[in-house]
């Protein structure tokens, strides 16, 4: 048992928003940092890092305000950095709710800042970010130099020398970004990591260059890092936090598993604040309709347990069934792998389609040339079977085998189910596929009679099946 390797998504922010871009001039808005923070915590991030990349250009207030808004919703630690130049800057961020601050350029210019911060807030609060890059010295040898001003300006300091000095001054952690590796997606800079690992005993966070799932484990196992940080691979959904942790777990590294229960899922809304919702009948598994929701309609759905949507034509929030009375009770909410489609598992109280059909998808196109044999069906629908058995039970037909069974009683039917099950099992090991299909059909028929005799509806079984496959995820009150 040991402390877990931390997986830290980094959010570049400017003026209180998440931004993306290769250069400061080409930045574009990439969403609300608070929403992203909630999503990362739910996914199992161990910590978050916010880096204000516009720090030199913007007022400090926006970053403090951001820290405060993030602290309001987050219950995992987060670090804030970018333009922290004084004890006062750090104090404002820590008071706003940040757990730690990152210093970079200002600490290189005045290393005593590290000591003052450590004395005031404790070493554990002080993360020293080092941007390292290989620069040829006068003799033509590549030396790993410390860069400042966002990795643009070289200094006289070597990466290892500065790391050791920072640790001695009171740094609680080194955030090491290789400018050479950053953006290449060719893997973390293992050589630079190893060099710093040899120079300091405090924890090191590896940053810059992650491109493959294996890269994260390599940074720890080979590079000696205690934590791994990445921005774009998480933000662009190339990897989930869970996938990164699973890859590390496979090589024997200790990781903290993602929380088992996700309290609320947060979809990624499009530019108009909408996200499509697929509605599925939880009993039959049939897709019922596709509609759109915004954050308000989703909140209303959670609050009432009834499907609410946003009408793009009428531009209003509406409750499914508010005119027809065919409300849809939502028993599960899921999000797809890239967060841009929601799935509601519902128990309909009537047809989902305004035409009166159960599903909006009731017009079916024929595939293949006319007359071409479509081949055997690849789905098994027992609706007709159960309907016939129930009809026999309700209005017996003289001479019907089903009625004979029903009259013989549950024990007799149960015995037949047992026999058919054994015959099915035997056919599976001794017969051909056709024989097995025949025995399976007999078994299913007798099972349908047994369930009907006992008053168990096919829907009851469907619910159990849905539960088994995990489709029913009722939120705890």
């Amino acid at each position: 048992m040991t402390v877990a390797v931390r997986v830290i998504p980094c959010l570049d922010v400017a003026n209180g928003r998440v931004v993306k871009g290769v250069s400061f001039e080409s930045l574009r808005d990439a969403g609300d940092p608070v929403e992203a923070a909630i999503r990362y915590e739910a996914e199992g991030a161990d910590e978050l890092a916010f880096l204000d990349i516009a720090a030199a250009h913007e007022k400090r207030g926006t970053l403090v305000d951001l820290a405060s808004r993030v602290a309001e919703v987050l219950s995992i630690p987060f670090t804030v950095g970018g333009g922290v130049r004084s004890v006062e800057d750090a104090d404002a961020l820590l008071r706003a709710g940040a757990d730690r601050v990152t210093v970079n350029t200002a600490a290189v210019e005045d290393p005593s800042l590290i000591t003052r911060l450590a004395e005031q807030f404790g070493a554990q609060c002080v993360v020293v970010a080092i941007d390292g890059k290989r620069v040829r010295d006068t003799g033509g040898l590549a030396v790993m130099r410390v860069m400042t001003h966002g990795g643009r300006r070289p200094t006289d300091r070597t990466v290892t020398g500065w790391a050791a000095a920072a640790a001695a001054a009171g740094a609680g952690e080194i955030l090491l970004t290789s400018v050479d590796a950053d953006g290449t997606q060719a893997g973390f800079d293992l050589e630079m990591l190893r060099a710093v690992r040899a120079a300091v005993d405090i924890p090191i966070v590896a940053s810059g260059g992650a491109g493959q799932l294996d890269d994260f484990a390599k940074a720890v196992v080979i590079g000696g890092a205690d934590a791994v940080l990445a921005a774009s691979v998480f933000h662009d959904r190339i990897f989930t936090i869970g996938a990164v942790k699973e890859a590390m777990r496979r090589v024997g590294l200790a990781i903290r598993p993602a929380p088992a229960r996700v309290r609320t899922l947060l979809p990624r809304y499009d530019a108009s604040g909408l996200v499509p919702v697929v509605m599925r009948d939880v009993v039959t598994g049939n897709v019922l309709t596709l509609a759109w929701t915004n954050a308000e309609a989703l909140a209303k759905t959670r609050e009432t347990g009834l499907a609410h949507f946003y009408s793009r034509s009428r531009k209003v929030l509406w409750k499914k069934g508010e005119t027809s009375g065919n409300v849809q009770r939502v028993v599960g909410i899921s999000l797809d792998c890239d967060d841009d489609t929601v799935l509601y598992d519902v128990r309909p109280s009537g047809p989902a389609c305004h035409t009166g059909a159960d599903s909006c998808f009731s017009r079916v196109e024929t595939l293949g040339a006319p007359g071409e044999d479509a081949g055997p069906a690849d789905a098994l629908d027992l609706t007709a079977l159960f309907a016939v058995v129930r009809a026999r039970k309700e209005s017996p037909v003289p001479g019907s085998y089903t009625n004979k069974l029903l009259e013989a009683g549950v024990s007799r039917i149960a015995q037949k189910v047992g026999e058919e099950a054994v015959e099915t099992a035997l056919a599976s090991v001794t017969g051909d596929a056709g024989a097995l299909a025949g025995e399976a059909a007999d078994l299913l028929y007798h099972l349908a009679v047994l369930l009907t005799a006992r008053g168990v509806a096919p829907g009851d079984v469907a619910v159990k099946l849905a539960e088994r496959r995990g489709a029913l995820r009722r939120e705890k009150p």
């Binding site: 048992m1 040991t2 402390v3 877990a4 390797v5 931390r6 915590e41 161990d46 910590e47 405060s68 602290a71 309001e72 219950s75 995992i76 630690p77 820590l94 008071r95 706003a96 709710g97 940040a98 757990d99 730690r100 004395e119 807030f121 404790g122 070493a123 554990q124 609060c125 609680g172 952690e173 005993d201 405090i202 924890p203 205690d226 934590a227 903290r256 598993p257 929380p259 229960r261 009150p477």
Partner: protein, 209 residues
């Protein structure tokens, strides 16, 4: 949804670091938080929290200078439940070796010492709790639950009966103590996601009749 009424939480204001997250965490659990340095309010508290992110000696000096030390003791004597968090947890013990030996509150036997030299310090990140008892502060918390630590010192010589959960970082140490109405944890429950919420909610619970 109805939340049962929660007793108010009195958070001792003695000028040490980041308390915003602790306040928010309790408020999210439906508790009222009184962040105060008022001696009477501290002394009469039923749920008293001693937070702290700072160095041991200045923190202890602040408690003594302000008279809050006596107020905290009075609250404990009256049966109020005290929760020490992180540095507030370390202050519960007899003494600390951080920057020279300094006396603590002595409410729980034990001494606060640095991690051994060979151990990666600070101990930063998520680590697992080894359950030592099933009730009280840790009720409902599964063994090996993950919580978030940030610290360079930890208590030694804690009586086994007082340890509700241990943690291993260069050897086992007391991560949660519970000695009658004096509770404390070395890690940050307010930063430990759902496991932290469970612990803080146990702290708010009424005593079993």
């Amino acid at each position: 949804m109805t939340t049962p009424p929660r007793p108010p939480v009195t958070l001792v204001d003695y000028g040490v670091g980041n308390t915003a997250s602790v306040i928010r965490a309790f408020r999210r659990l439906g508790a009222e938080v009184d962040f105060t340095a008022d001696l009477d309010r501290v002394a009469s508290a039923r749920r008293l929290v001693l937070p702290g992110v700072a160095a041991f000696q200045p923190a202890m000096n602040r408690l003594l200078e302000t008279g809050l030390e006596s107020a905290v003791r009075a609250a404990v004597k009256r049966g109020g439940r005290l929760l020490g968090l992180c540095l507030g947890f370390q202050l519960l013990f007899e003494e600390s070796e951080e920057h020279g030996v300094c006396r603590g509150l002595g409410l729980v036997p034990g001494r606060v010492r640095p991690f051994p030299a060979r151990v990666r310090t600070p101990h930063v990140g998520w680590n697992q709790l080894l359950a030592r008892r099933p009730d009280g502060f840790v009720e409902g918390l599964p063994d090996l639950s993950w919580v978030y630590f940030v610290h360079s010192f930890r208590p030694e010589g804690v009586e086994a009966a007082d340890v509700a959960a241990a943690c291993n970082h260069g050897g086992e140490f007391a991560a949660i103590v519970q000695r009658e109405n004096v509770w404390g944890c070395q890690f940050h429950p307010e930063k430990s996601s759902e496991n932290g919420r469970l612990l803080l909610s146990n702290f708010l619970k009424e005593d079993a009749a």
